[in-house]
Amino acid sequence: MSGAPRVPASLVGLVGFFAIWEVASRTDLVPGYYLRPPSVVLPTMVTLLGDPEFVRAVVATLAATLLALVIAVLIAVPAGLVLGSVPPVRRAVMTLVEFLRPIPSVALIPLALLTFGTGPDTKITLAVYGALWPILFNTMYALDEVDPLHVETARAFGTGRLGLLGRVALPSAAPFVLTGVRLSFAIALAVVISTELFAGGTTGLGQVVTVASGGGLNMDTVLAGTVLAGLIGYGANAGLELLHRKAFAWSQPKVDAE
């Protein structure tokens, strides 16, 4: 989902979402004491953002997410290039990968707590584990779609294996890899917050939510945290899209079919 949505149009969608939510919680459709309306949640969020402790929690979550994402990219892109281009390695490794992939980070939290402790290591490790896959898979699939003639051209001009990977495979895979990174950001954020939520121990947005939901129906704070997570993801996505547009300025503008 990239492209240049005009500001008003993209706002229409978001405003619509909040409007539905507002109406739903103001009427009897859903329990309003539980799903607090955005007219309460958004001001709560603004107030919370004025609280340095809350801001510290948000920064901690964000920093852990970004760190996890960077580590995931550094592991998954080279791994994807190798797995995508060397079938024997791919065959050998993918069996294990397919066994590991569906194991939920949440299920690993107790073990991770035992192994890495309550510090940020746990959430970062688990987030890397979750964020690896979209980047890895998108890199591998993008390699399958590299135009064989590009490969032939480069090979004919004496480009070696590494050159092929770096100068042909990577650039043609890059846009799809970036889509994987956008997916991975959301996953890393989700895992970090979930770990904070299910394990606790470190400062973070998830812990704020745990604490708030522990003491009665503090749904304003819980939902403010939820909305903030959405906004963080939205902002990160916008940033990655900008990067996409900048990095892939070479690509032909897409013609509309209609």
Binding site: M1, S85, P87, A92, I103, A107, T226, A229, N237, K254
Partner: protein, 266 residues
């Protein structure tokens, strides 16, 4: 290359990994390492697994869990592809909906619980949670694929004034399919993961439910048996999906031996 070497290649790393795992955990156990209680050797896990999986738990927990997960994944796939094509090919749809979706998909599934609880209640929220979480890889990858239809092919389609169905199913979808499959494979494991997460709340049965119970009851072998089951299921469904993918994408040159050799520079 013959079948035997391929199969050997496919399993060698896996077997070595399991062997190492057995070795390390046995050594740790023998040495009386303090955390070895939580990391039983795979041979013990296998024994427990055999008892657990093929007991009444199969009908009580495994089948409901799997049906939830497969149903959720399939629905996520259909919605994701449909929305992805819409958003990928229509600037207007993207302008209006792109922001909402990017906002929604960034909310961690556990934080969405209040919305699902409010909408469908805590005991019914497993299925929507799976659908909601598994949709994004398919959606984003489909958008990417739909956008990437080659310009000359778009022009060809326009010149022959293809019907909307033909355009969607005959041109956009096939061009996007390789990327869609990447998304479907990602979604598959996410659906399994969310099956577990969603069964933590409000559910009376399911694999996740049993997994967490084993965790809480300090039965690490049982917990590992459920974790291994997730791995086995993931591997199984993924293999089936790959077979489907090979069939659907049979036209792709990458499946010809010749070009495969080329792509690897061999």
């Amino acid at each position: 290359m013959n079948r035997v070497t391929r199969t050997a290649q496919r399993w060698v790393v896996f077997v070595v990994a399991v062997g190492l795992w057995e070795l390390v955990t046995q050594l740790a156990k023998a040495a009386g390492a303090e955390k070895s209680f939580f990391f039983p050797p795979p041979s013990e896990i296998a024994l427990t697994a055999k008892d657990l999986w093929f007991s009444s738990a199969f009908g009580d927990h495994i089948v409901p869990g799997i049906s939830r997960m497969l149903g959720g994944w399939a629905l996520a796939g259909v919605i994701g592809i449909a929305l992805g094509i819409l958003l990928g090919r229509s600037r207007r749809a993207m302008a209006y909906l792109g922001a909402v979706f990017n906002f929604l998909r960034s909310i961690p599934p556990p934080l969405l619980v209040p919305f699902f609880v409010a909408a469908v209640g805590p005991t019914n929220m497993q299925f929507p949670t799976i659908v909601f979480g598994a949709i994004w890889p398919v959606l984003l990858n489909t958008v990417d694929g739909a956008r990437g239809v080659d310009a000359t092919k778009v022009e060809t389609a326009r010149v022959f004034r293809l019907s909307r169905t033909q355009w969607t199913f005959g041109v956009v979808l096939p061009s996007a399919l390789p990327k869609v499959f990447a998304g479907l494979r990602l979604s598959l494991s996410i659906a399994l993961i969310l099956m577990v997460i969603s069964e933590l709340i409000g559910s009376a049965n399911g694999i996740g439910n049993q997994l967490v119970r084993a965790q809480r009851d300090y039965e690490p072998t049982a917990m590992w048996a459920w974790i291994v089951l997730l791995g086995v299921l993931g591997y199984l469904f993924n293999t089936l999906l790959l077979v489907l993918e090979r069939r659907v994408l049979a036209w792709q040159p990458r499946h010809s031996l010749e070009t495969q050799a080329l792509a690897t520079g061999g």
